[in-house]
């Protein structure tokens, strides 16, 4: 036994279930669920709860104002709701975002101020109803002339050799064998595909890189209720080609949305891509469940494929893991992913595509990229009407949240194994 499993469960009333798992109801309203092998699966009391992996490491914590989730490679995501209803999300040490609603020029947005590696930037999202619920759709920085979208959409002629200069970068070395860019690009859609996968992996690197985590540790076999991939299943050229076709389709959606920005959620949002076999690239660590109740994790850059369009009242969709890293959900496994998480992935896809289009517009004709016809690039990009940057010091809020999460995790664990009276 390791981690939390070395400690004794307080005495209490024991219920044995059909699968030989146990529920222990102890003093002061504390409840414990134990796996058939005796390891602690979860604990709850007084509105707080925690779940644990079979190796004894903490998987998640839930309190009245904070949710903490640990990813397969040690990533920790912390979500807090603040008194003003804004939401603070840490996706790793010194990185995350503050999200709040804002009204600007007669439009209502959700704005996020991100902090990554000491830099901060904002992204705006506009809300829409889908299947009776509210989702938030990424709002691009710029809209371009239709001919520019066309230039990125259609083949360039002969494939264009291009070097990204990523070799030697820590993030690129970290994902060596899992992701490789093409040497040459037949169209802008292919170039944008490598750009957006590269940017997504680079952004996720700091969260994924820390050693540790519960997965991929050969010394600790998974529990029956957990699934780990024994090895990487890389993003192959065939998978990238399928993503490139989706990028090409998204360019058509973006062109349609650029013509009618007020209709953008309908023309370039998540509902457009909730079709069978659509691929999603995971944008942050996520714990998911399989149909038979197993738990596993997805990391930044893992690719999953939608099985079927979710039903009208569904809050989650079934997706097959197409590529994943060692310790994540194994390739071929079907997992259930909340629709909100798919919206996050689609928003990241569009945000990276937006950055890629800006780079393509600025650098066409240079660094080996073909020149676009001037009819395509002469009209200047139209800046979107989005709210001004947030003035709050998000970095200090995130640092404070990390400390509060440490205290919360300690407090919940201590209360679970306390033998004295429980204060609450």
């Amino acid at each position: 036994m390791t981690g939390i499993n070395k400690r004794s469960i307080p005495p209490g009333r024991v219920a044995v279930h059909g699968d030989k798992s146990l529920t222990v109801t102890a003093t002061n309203g504390r409840n414990y669920n134990l796996r058939p092998n005796g390891t602690l699966a979860s604990y709850s009391a007084h509105g707080q709860s925690a779940s644990f992996h079979a190796n004894g490491q903490l998987a998640s914590v839930h309190t009245a104002n904070m949710d903490i989730a640990h990813g397969p490679h040690g990533q920790r995501t912390i979500i807090s709701e603040r008194p003003d209803h804004s939401r603070l999300v840490s996706t790793g040490p010194h990185r995350g975002y503050l999200e709040h609603s804002v009204s600007y020029h007669g439009h209502d947005y959700v704005q996020r101020t991100y902090v990554h590696g000491g830099h901060s930037f904002t992204r705006a999202y506009s809300g829409y109803h889908y299947h009776g619920r509210i989702f938030y759709n990424y709002y691009p920085y710029y809209f371009y002339d239709p001919l520019f979208y066309g230039w990125a959409y259609y083949p360039w002629g002969a494939p264009v050799p291009y070097g990204w200069g990523w070799a030697g970068s820590p993030w690129f070395d970290f994902y060596a064998g899992f992701f490789s860019p093409w040497d040459a690009y037949p169209s802008g859609a292919y170039w944008l595909t490598d750009f957006l996968i590269g940017q997504t992996l680079e952004a996720g690197y700091q969260a994924d890189a820390p050693a540790g985590g519960y997965a991929g540790n050969d010394a600790t076999p998974p529990g029956d209720d957990e699934a780990y991939a024994p090895a990487d299943t890389p993003i192959t050229p065939e998978i990238k080609q399928m993503i490139a076709e989706e990028v090409q389709q998204q360019l058509a959606y973006e062109n349609a949305a650029a013509a009618k920005p007020d209709d953008a959620p309908a023309l370039a949002g998540l509902p457009q891509v909730l079709t069978p076999n659509h691929l999603f690239v995971t944008s942050q660590a996520l714990n998911v469940a399989t149909a038979d109740g197993q738990q596993c994790g997805l990391s930044t850059g893992d690719v999953i494929k939608l099985v079927a369009t979710p039903a009208d009242d569904a809050t989650a969709a079934d997706l097959v893991v197409v590529s994943s890293r060692k310790g994540d959900c194994p390739a071929g496994l079907t997992v259930s992913v909340p629709v909100e998480s798919l919206q996050e992935m689609q928003n990241n896809f569009r945000a990276q595509l937006d950055s890629g289009l800006q780079k393509l517009h600025a650098q066409q004709g240079q660094n080996g990229l073909p020149g676009a016809p001037y009819s395509a690039i002469a009209p200047p990009p139209r800046p979107s009407d989005e709210p001004p940057a947030d003035n709050e010091n998000v970095q200090s809020l995130l640092d404070a949240q990390q400390q509060q999460a440490n205290q919360t995790e300690t407090s919940v664990t201590q209360s679970a194994f306390s033998t004295g009276p429980q204060a609450h």
Partner: protein, 266 residues
């Protein structure tokens, strides 16, 4: 934390859209490549090559240049000097003759169809209103102006290659423009579409007020500028940027059919 509560907090925002199904969209239009000779010059201009080098390249090329209005506008936007444009016209003039007024182009709508489109779309503009948000860089002070613009009685005459219209503008209720205007398409030298705040800021800077900045407009506005010789501008304001682009393309086509554009002769 109760996520439902968080979502409910956002509900007051009055979200506008309700979606239920995938919407089919058409692929974007395919751009036509620049003529090879134009592309070579554009590449040199893009990296800021000296005028003498660009002129040498123009004189030494055996390829024909595209000297259509679109192509010349593209070269001008890329920074071509008057001497470079004249050299290109001289080099390429033998292959591209301007269409006489009223004659249909080799491809695309006729002049009559194009002028009809322009007339309809400009008359549809009617009276529009917007708010401009301003900032004074000298003291950081901000202000807003409520603006209106009315475009009416637009007549796009294909026989005369002439567009006439009535324009009335007001700022905070005070009338600033009230006039009938007209111009000949063959006099149009440049057609530009840009965000209104950019247009306004360029005008303010040019007229001695670089410290005053229009930071944004609500709704976002787009202006179509038809530039004539001696810097005279004819402008049309749009709330729909896509429509502004479409009318600009129709104007460009009409100017070409009417023999307009850069009229410098060798």
């Amino acid at each position: 934390m109760n996520m439902r509560k968080l979502l409910a907090a956002f509900l007051f925002c009055g979200i506008a859209f309700t979606l239920s199904a995938q919407q089919p969209v058409a692929p974007p239009p395919k751009p036509v490549n620049d003529a090879p000779a134009n592309a070579a010059v554009l590449k040199l201009l893009q990296v800021g090559m000296p005028e003498s080098v660009v002129l040498d390249k123009i004189h030494s090329t055996s390829d024909k240049f595209d000297t259509s209005v679109d192509a010349l506008v593209a070269l001008k936007l890329a920074g071509a000097t008057e001497a470079e444009l004249k050299a290109i016209l001289a080099q390429g003039a033998a292959s591209v003759d301007p269409q006489p007024a009223g004659v249909p182009a080799a491809s695309g709508p006729t002049l009559a169809e194009t002028m009809q489109f322009i007339q309809e779309k400009l008359n549809d503009l009617g009276k529009i209103a917007w708010v401009e948000f301003n900032q004074d860089a000298t003291n950081g002070g901000t202000s807003t102006d409520t603006m209106t613009n009315e475009t009416s009685n637009v007549v796009a005459d294909a026989n005369q290659c002439r567009i006439s219209y009535y324009r009335k503008g007001a700022q905070n209720g005070k009338i600033t423009r009230d006039e009938n205007r007209a111009f000949l398409l063959r006099d149009v030298q440049e057609i530009v579409v840009k965000p209104l705040e950019q247009f306004e800021n360029e005008w303010l800077a040019k007229n001695g007020h670089p410290e005053l900045v229009v930071t944004s407009t609500n709704p976002p506005m787009t202006v179509l500028v038809l530039r004539q010789p001696h810097g005279e501008d004819y402008t049309f304001r749009f709330t729909d940027a896509n429509l502004a682009d479409r009318v600009a393309k129709a104007m460009l086509h009409a100017v070409e059919l009417c023999g307009g554009g850069n009229k410098d002769k060798f």
